[in-house]
Symmetry: C2
Subunit: 399 residues, 2 copies
């Protein structure tokens, strides 16, 4: 059976050129970048070259890139590193409700460590309102963390406006740009944030490589202590092949960004348009200001897990909520925070597209999806019972 992989926010296949770039560092160029001899120098040169490529993708300086092993590590590093570095100035953080678990749970850890966290509410499309940020700032606030875009609903947040408010008050801003870097233009100086998280496998790079971009002059406490790698800011023997792969993936993403977006946006719109015809299936997130390859919905009276399994049986590989919580079997806090009722949030489905998808893939999904929904509703104890149209109405901009 043909496979339709439409879960690119979970992870991506490697670009063949990325794997090709990585291969020598698994074999002949296996040195430790800290070693003074030839093998070490070559490994060091390779990671410095990757640092330039990654910096180039987000218009940062190479010295601002700190390689990590994942976006989750970068997010933990950002929140805890900045909160601790500035704790003498205040112990209050603002964290949006659209954040990934790695931001939310790092914030909860800080709450247990004596910090206070205020969670920023969002509107029905998932937008954080800059005016709300302004209202919730206290004299103790040192850090604001708002995702650049949620991988669950695709909404792109007004980071620049939030930064403008924060800068007037000397508050640091972190953005989780894991879902955006390599997928839409991300210009760090233009966004104005102090720290920004990235993950290579979100743009056809390898798993095991991420970065925290730290604006020059920003004080940050390390998360992983040890040797002098990454200028003493992140210890551990560098994963040279993965870093080289991240560099190559960044270079390719930068070169092909407009082309990729131009290819993916119409596919995304095609799937959104098709779903508009499916009864009681509602778009989540904003219709326009969203990730170019991201189409997310809630289906009324449907259990997300069952929907995924029936779709998988038809070769359609998609996700319900965040991959990092898809087996946790709880309604997504992101969807709940947007005012979507718990029963509807359970029926969440995300189709995230990639360069391997074709218009025919969308035709197939559009043709098969309604039957899956119909079958699940037939067996649902709720489908004739409680809930009403308004519930669904609260989660959509399009119906």
């Amino acid at each position: 059976m043909k496979k339709y992989y439409v879960d690119h926010v979970a992870t991506n296949p490697l670009h063949p050129d990325v794997l090709k770039a990585m291969m020598p560092y698994f074999t002949e160029e296996f040195g430790n970048p800290l070693s003074v001899y030839e093998y070490g120098m070559k490994a060091k040169a390779a990671i410095e070259s990757a640092r330039e490529q990654v910096a180039g993708l987000v218009n940062a300086k190479p010295a601002e890139i700190i390689f990590t092993a994942s976006g989750a590590e970068a997010n933990n590093f950002a929140l805890r590193g900045i909160a601790l570095a500035r704790q003498n100035e205040g112990k209050h953080l603002l964290v949006s409700r659209m954040e990934h678990h790695s931001v939310l749970n790092a914030a909860r850890f800080l709450e247990k460590s004596g910090f206070t966290v205020t969670y920023l509410p969002v509107d029905k499309q998932g937008f954080v309102a800059p005016e709300t940020v302004k209202k919730m700032i206290t004299k103790e606030t040192t850090l604001i963390s708002v995702t650049h875009a949620s991988s669950e609903v695709g909404t792109i947040e007004p980071i620049q406006e939030i930064v403008a408010i924060a800068k007037e008050r000397n508050i640091s801003v972190h953005t989780d740009a894991v879902a955006t870097t390599g997928n839409i233009p991300v210009d760090m100086p233009d966004l104005g944030v102090d720290v920004m998280s990235m993950a290579a496998h979100q743009f056809y790079g390898p798993k095991g490589a991420g970065a925290l971009v730290v604006k020059q002059g920003t004080r940050i406490v390390p998360l992983i202590y040890g040797g002098i790698q990454e200028s003493g800011r992140r210890a551990g023997t560098e994963n040279v092949p993965a870093i080289v792969g991240m560099g190559k993936a960044a270079e390719l993403a930068k070169a092909e960004l407009q082309e990729r977006m131009a290819y993916l946006r119409p596919l995304r719109d095609k799937i959104i348009d098709a779903m508009a015809n499916v009864e009681r299936v509602y778009l989540t997130g904003d219709r326009n200001n969203r990730l170019p390859a991201h189409a997310s919905f809630c289906a009324e009276y449907i259990e997300g897990e069952a929907m995924l399994l029936l779709l998988a049986a038809k070769g359609i590989f998609s996700a319900s909520g965040s991959a990092c919580s898809s087996k946790a079997l709880k309604a997504s806090p992101v969807l709940l925070s947007m005012g979507i009722p718990s029963g509807l949030a359970q029926g969440s489905i995300v189709f995230s597209l990639g360069m391997g998808n074709t218009p025919e893939d969308i035709d197939y999904i559009a043709a098969e999806f309604p039957a899956v929904i119909k079958r699940l509703r037939e067996i649902s104890p709720y489908s004739q019972g409680w809930g009403d149209k308004e519930e669904g109405g609260s989660c959509t901009a399009t119906k």
Copy 2:
């Protein structure tokens, strides 16, 4: 020019079978282990199989393995995770002076966070004395961290005796087994420790994969928060190829351990014997109770960095102290803690052997090394001046 790689404590080339095992997970099997469909299930099965292989190497249960991205991460996780989990019982730690920077610097971070750390002294061979541990324990002590073996001097520590003392007092024990796992028999239940760190690239596995082995029932606070990966104890999309590689490397190490040790020990002894004939070059660490592939020395009136560069010019790739600090240009704290004077510790050299080395490699090194030493002494301002034989004498068991 032929290359003589004798820096296997810095990193190792991948075993060809390890790379072969990893390859499918870079291409067709690229799924996220948390995804419910086929690609996800295959990735999940692959990491669970690797978990069994890694557990098998150290006689642990698969559920006790928490994959990390490095030994450094595992060490930070262990110290901070146990210290925080037990902070209501006490805030005192015992940490040996033989530890890697990732342990020492994690301990220093805890000191800044309100914990008290006592650093365990060592004798001239680098051994921590169990009686010293006993004396330094307080009612507040919750955790003792002693390396299984130092990668700088090769000395294997008396972990079981330390554990016996700790267990009587309900104190947790961590051992950094990065230098030992895959290189000597390491049986976690037999050692008796509660938490143990490993790194795959120390036994022909990939960079970017490590593990913290956490004995069942041990409470530990995560270092990286986020999704539900690793049973909620370590977040971040799993680096599937690296984890698969670590599993394969563990399986191979287990199967070949005796054979590897039998091959490497005579090579190590050959180099130690050869160095015994070089004037004012002293073995560091214990002569017998040391890592089977590890030969470390201090050369009087020599600057380590210069020695490495001259050796590299002859194709001999070795290290001075720990790779993680070799560019930090400070005398190794480990050597200083053994009572080696700073001037002598500067002339530290470690030859760490691997399965690619031959007896002829050792002959070549033994032939070239004295000329390097002679040349450096000729240009050293100190070589005719200060220092005396006793200084050197303090660092050796053999001269």
